[in-house]
Symmetry: C2
Subunit: 563 residues, 2 copies
């Protein structure tokens, strides 16, 4: 597109995250362009990810989610005065005429229609909350949590009705953030998830079970593998009970957090290519199948940089990065989006939860042969006050040693380690690279060898055959099959006293007595070693194998996953 | 080295960080090796980096610095029982006979000498505190802070004497951590630094000045470009006054934190190569010039991965990583140490301070043509409660866009961003790579586009010539030269009211009025734009240049560095 004397006309459909970002960047790249944002709702350029914190009461005014860091409200006037961008709210984009380069708009208040011409069109149409086709979802106290109106409605309902109980349908990211908000509001929460575990797209089973246990401890009723059949209510349309195939749950209101689907109707009707995930296809420049029409945010699919597969990952962070690239490219730039690696973080019930790259299940699905480790860690020097735990799972490829992903859960600093792994994954790091990173060490921030490097070393030890592990789940299966083997618990007597493992197979020998007492163990028998965090059990395994014991493995993750 | 029936004999000189780590890893790699650690002091395997926190009172018992995470004290018995490693404390390694493969040991209590043979020798002789050759350094209340005895002495002195004032000589890492400990103990602190700014090896001038201002606000008396001439005291040898070329400071005690020098005497006397930095030379396998003698930790020099130059960077994190590699290699492995990128983090007076890679001054010294940005940021979504500020400086190479380093200072989460940059630097990342990382976003952890990616984008904008900046220091120089130009302050009236910039050159036009009011500005005159954090000033610069103003730059870092 040549820029002549005529001002280029850029029309952006969608005014929440990707759209305004694209428009603002386009303005910075081209002072003369005529830029219009079209938004069907009332609000523009708001922080959707902040909605749970508004409901929780942590963000005091809903306007807070629409403000710039310096306190200006990003409304129609702001875009006009500061950015020189026209915003049309309550305006619906009905269709695109690609030949004429026009988009047909409908004023949702007056009903008037209008054709607006464009040189470049940006589709940032976002996503919609999925509402399951079951009886009762239309009741007045059944909410979704997808836009500011939803957030306001939920907040007002809690405050107005003194609601004390909620059922959240869906144990994904939004469901868990909603649960956190409910906890902050003192509302008793039941989460119903159809899959066998929470966050099924994000965590492997054992990590998810660890999270569910922590949430239950905080009073959340977590039901998994449970299917909602219907919602029952009063004659006035107030939901009172959620009926599942596993029983009923009485409640004061319901939040549906099943997931979202991309808004592709406009694109599809215009004949633009829809990808295999059901979202709009875009190339690396974020162009749709029509090179003058760009798309980004929740309405498009991305390429997963690790698996190489298409993925639908609707996240605010991605929408913002898309917006910047689109703003550059609609004004003559040629910038690429490198794909996603699936980094996702959330906070729920005091637990920091994060994933980057592939989970082990996803990696195996993608054809990788995997080696993983689970390492309970403390987020700073153990002698430094205030340290908190995190449970780290790292996943790598057998053979190549390529790092594939990480999952971290705990009260401690998850966010740093997830972002470090995310950075390493962007460059195709191996576990050796990861272990050798020159990360910052001071006692308030980390251990001398940070726990994420330590985890990488555990996987390297597994590759070397120095470390031979068994998962807690495998040991439990062996026990339930009635197998004979020794569980060697090498914790100190004080630790054992506090939290004894009760099984006839258990033998307690503290690590510092093991060298002297190893003759009490069967040299050819099967031994699995156990300690609190896995490190001493690993040392015991090394010690016993060094002394000629033939069949010794340590329990990965220690007591953290044993219980 | 073939492993036959004979057990390999490994002797490790030095028992603090690298030495014990090397020994423990060697044991895990070789169950049969005969491993001895020789340490001249009383204590082994302690967390030297924790000493300031013991003095501060945050670590309650000094034994806490010698414990494993599970609470076992890492003493001679622990190494014997758990690791199968012999430790000889109070034993001095006097000389090495490389032909005989023997090291001569002196029992420091009995004075008895003994020759100990080795197959592989590990030098982990550490460093010593530099004591300047000035009058008064021998007085009884003049301390260094280098080992556990020093830490205990300082702590006991404060508690025992009710000392209320300290002079810390040296404004490097140890000096600033000591200042933090003094703050925690309620001791009034003066820091005397010979160079023009604090942390001269770590921070650029303007970042260091920002830190010094924050420390002064917390009551620390910071004297820079000041040389200590002598320490004066009572006739009983109690220091009372520190005399500098800039005046005298009365005090109750003195901490010398000038720096450390590598302990190379043993290596040098044995004819091992000493590197250009004055520390022991080692190759990538951490072998000295004698392939059977390895060395690591504070006594060796490293290669800086970015500059390619030799560097002496004595840090506990590096010592630990060295130890693991040496343990592998003395038992037949062949692992490499990839070099360092200079990641250093510390906490002082409530400020988190970090650096990774090269500072701008170091980069220019190393021959790079640099572009930098300074960006005041908040560590999480601005609407989320509890967010805290960090000031980020990123440095990149002009032309290639290669990332060279980062410096971050503030009360907010510095540590995450420094480690993310450290990870990216390990792979030779460009600022574009940095900007496009798939980092985790949720409001408690970051902004939708994390501040570190935002900083990378600012540099990209400078490369593109979209962003044209001037430093606060340059503007101050222009003012002091009496130059005529306009300072356009685009903050809101409320912000200006709170903190007005008083200069005749200043014109206040809030950003949202600038499009209407730009005709009040001189189209051909020089304009520098100013706001709180730099973002709006940048937008104003873009807006004015888009409107045909020819000479407009924004002040990098906004008010953060203006004051």
């Amino acid at each position: 597109m040549e820029k002549g004397d005529d001002r280029i006309k850029i029309v952006v459909i969608g005014g929440v995250a990707c759209g305004p970002k694209a428009a603002a960047k386009a303005r910075r790249c081209d002072a003369d362009a005529e830029i219009t944002i079209v938004e069907k709702g009332d609000f523009i350029s708001y922080a959707g990810c902040g909605m749970p914190y508004y409901i929780a009461g942590a963000v005091k005014k809903i306007e807070g989610l629409m403000m710039t860091p310096s306190g200006a409200v990003r409304d129609v006037e702001f875009f006009k005065d500061v950015k020189g961008i026209t915003v049309r709210t309550n305006t619906f984009a009905q269709s695109i005429d690609r030949k004429k380069r026009e988009v047909v708009l409908v004023d949702m208040k007056s009903g008037q229609m209008e054709a607006m011409s464009y040189d470049k069109l940006v589709l940032a149409t976002g996503s919609s909350a999925v509402v399951p086709p079951i009886e009762g979802v239309g009741m007045k106290n059944v909410f979704t949590l997808h836009n500011l109106n939803d957030a306001a409605a939920i907040f007002n309902y809690i405050v107005g009705s003194n609601a004390g109980r909620v059922v959240i349908v869906g144990g994904g990211l939004i469901g868990l953030e909603a649960a956190d908000a409910m906890g902050a509001q003192g509302v008793d929460t039941t989460i119903i998830e159809m899959m066998p575990h929470l966050l099924p797209q994000i965590l492997d089973l054992e990590m998810s079970d660890y999270l569910a246990a922590a949430m239950r401890k905080e009073g959340v009723n977590v039901l998994t593998s449970a299917k909602v059949l219907k919602i029952e209510g009063d004659s006035d349309g107030t939901a009172r009970k959620v009926i599942t195939d596993k029983g009923e749950v009485e409640t004061d209101f319901v939040i549906l957090a099943i997931g979202v689907r991309p808004n592709t109707e406009l694109a599809a009707a215009a004949g633009l290519q829809i990808g295999e995930t059901g979202a709009i296809y875009v190339n690396e420049y974020l162009q749709t199948s029509d090179p003058d029409i760009f798309a980004g945010g929740d309405c498009v699919e991305c390429t997963h940089s690790i698996s190489g597969r298409k993925a639908y990952i609707p996240l605010g962070s991605i929408a913002n990065r898309h917006g910047r690239i689109i703003g550059t490219n609609v004004t003559g730039g040629r910038e690429t989006f490198p794909g996603v690696i699936g980094t996702t973080v959330l906070k729920t019930m005091g637990m920091n939860v994060g994933r980057t790259g592939l989970s082990e299940a996803q990696a195996r699905n993608a054809g990788y042969s995997t080696v993983a480790c689970i390492s309970p860690s403390v987020d700073r020097a153990h002698f430094f006050p205030g340290g908190r735990g995190i449970l780290i799972k790292l996943v790598a490829e057998e053979g190549s040693g390529k790092l594939l992903g990480a999952q971290i859960i705990g009260q401690g600093d998850m966010s740093k380690r997830i972002d470090v792994v995310a950075a390493a994954l962007a460059f195709g790091a191996s576990v050796e690279d990861m272990a050798k990173l020159d990360l910052g060490y001071a006692p308030p921030y980390s251990t001398a060898m940070d726990c994420i490097a330590h985890s990488a070393n555990i996987i390297r030890n597994k590759f070397d055959n120095t470390a031979n592990s068994i998962t807690a789940a495998e040991v439990r299966d062996k026990i339930s099959r009635g197998e004979r083997f020794t569980i060697l618990d090498v914790r100190s007597p004080v630790e054992v006293e506090k939290n004894r493992v009760n099984d006839g197979r258990v033998k307690n020998i503290p690590l510092d007595k093991l060298r002297q007492m190893m003759n009490e163990l069967p040299k050819d028998g099967e031994i699995v070693t156990l300690c609190q965090a896995g490190l001493r059990a690993y040392e015991a395994q090394v010690m016993l194998r060094g002394a000629g014991f033939s069949d010794v493995r340590f329990i990965d993750g220690g007591m953290a996953l044993w219980e």
